[in-house]
Symmetry: C2
Subunit: 228 residues, 2 copies
Amino acid sequence: MNRKAPVKRTRAKQTRLSADDRRSEFVTKATELFADEGFGGGTRALARKLGVTQPLLYRYFPSKDDLIKEVYRKVYLGPLETGWEKLLSDRSRPLRVRLQEFYQAYTDAIFTRKWLRIYLYSGLKGLDINRWYVGMVKDKILSRIIRECRHDAGLATQSRPSAAELELAWVFHGGIFYYGVRRYIYEAPVLEDKAQMISDALDVFLAGFERLAENSDDRQRAPLKVVV
Amino acid sequence: MNRKAPVKRTRAKQTRLSADDRRSEFVTKATELFADEGFGGGTRALARKLGVTQPLLYRYFPSKDDLIKEVYRKVYLGPLETGWEKLLSDRSRPLRVRLQEFYQAYTDAIFTRKWLRIYLYSGLKGLDINRWYVGMVKDKILSRIIRECRHDAGLATQSRPSAAELELAWVFHGGIFYYGVRRYIYEAPVLEDKAQMISDALDVFLAGFERLAENSDDRQRAPLKVVV
DNA sequence: ATCTTTGGTGATCGGTCGATAAACTGGTTC
DNA sequence: GAACCAGTTTATCGACCGATCACCAAAGAT
């Protein structure tokens, strides 16, 4: 039936972009999509967000998995700054101030709905990049914080942080991190003033670290045992 | 072709269970599956874990979503104990000991790969039951801890915990929680001795809370401002 | 004005998913 | 031993997913 004049279908209007622009647009919107729906989010939904058709994705990425890797790269590496290590180690300023300033900047960088969700999703997948990030936090941030705390308490700073010290720093760090999770993932009511939360947490941490440092020798020989 | 004698296909051997047993087996294995692969895990993979066929699921649950809800119920409500509140409030014993004992028991209950992964997955979905759980932690655990800490520091215990106090307790609690995440989700190297980690974290928290309590009046009138 | 390049679309394929209907079978009851 | 019930399987449906291919049209080059 009707074999003549192939019905001239109205084509969807094209909005042509340069290859680079389109590619980065894919990554940007994919980050949003995957943050919202997890990495199970469909390529068609992604294309809809760009106002293009789904096959176009495959002109820029060989597979969905490659797109996902690109999203990781952008999310994990994006907010990273090189100045953090120097900021933490600048002994011309009080440790308390350095820590407050660092955590202010660090949380400004990662406390977004997008970053936290992508981070948690990738953590649940057990990806290498997640392990790399955790290692980076340990080496570049926590180890340095411990060294500075030791120096501040008049202890030796040569030896590497003990496992117990590292754990202490991790609990502190994790506590602050979890504030972001409660706020931007659970969307639970939290103390609005992030700066005050950091400040209070720092007070507790520093006061506690000092007290531990005082009897650090005793602790190493006979670790505190608690009735269980 | 071959219209005669409907080929007597060899049927998969049945292992018949009582309705209750089969149902709870579905929930158990579903918990494992969803913990591993998220709630996107397929019903066919689930059936394979039970050694049955996929449609059997729908004799016990109207939909996959109902199965998921059952998994939530079991996971969230399972490890909950009623004794925790009394344990925390028993002033005949030192606060330090009570807290150590409580967090020992609490982390024994929730620090499993299964529990933590289901919890995080459901948190990312923004489910009501997750909100309920967070509220429960706040009301039943953290508020009570604050009250006991106040009592221990010789402060009034009538007024409800301030937002700042709650936040302090949350950061402490979240720090301990994050230990479980690092250990069982990131599978990162952590301090093996969980009891020591709790003990150290408690030392820091209690020492810090004491110090804050000392100038609590000052803090309320003129909250500590930090150079940013 | 035409050619070439390249960003973009339409159609479609094989696979997987949740869900349904109907047939089959082991065990219990009368 | 016939009838029935409950647990299980086979077969299949419609929707969706990632991926591929041939084709199309807008911009730059000649």
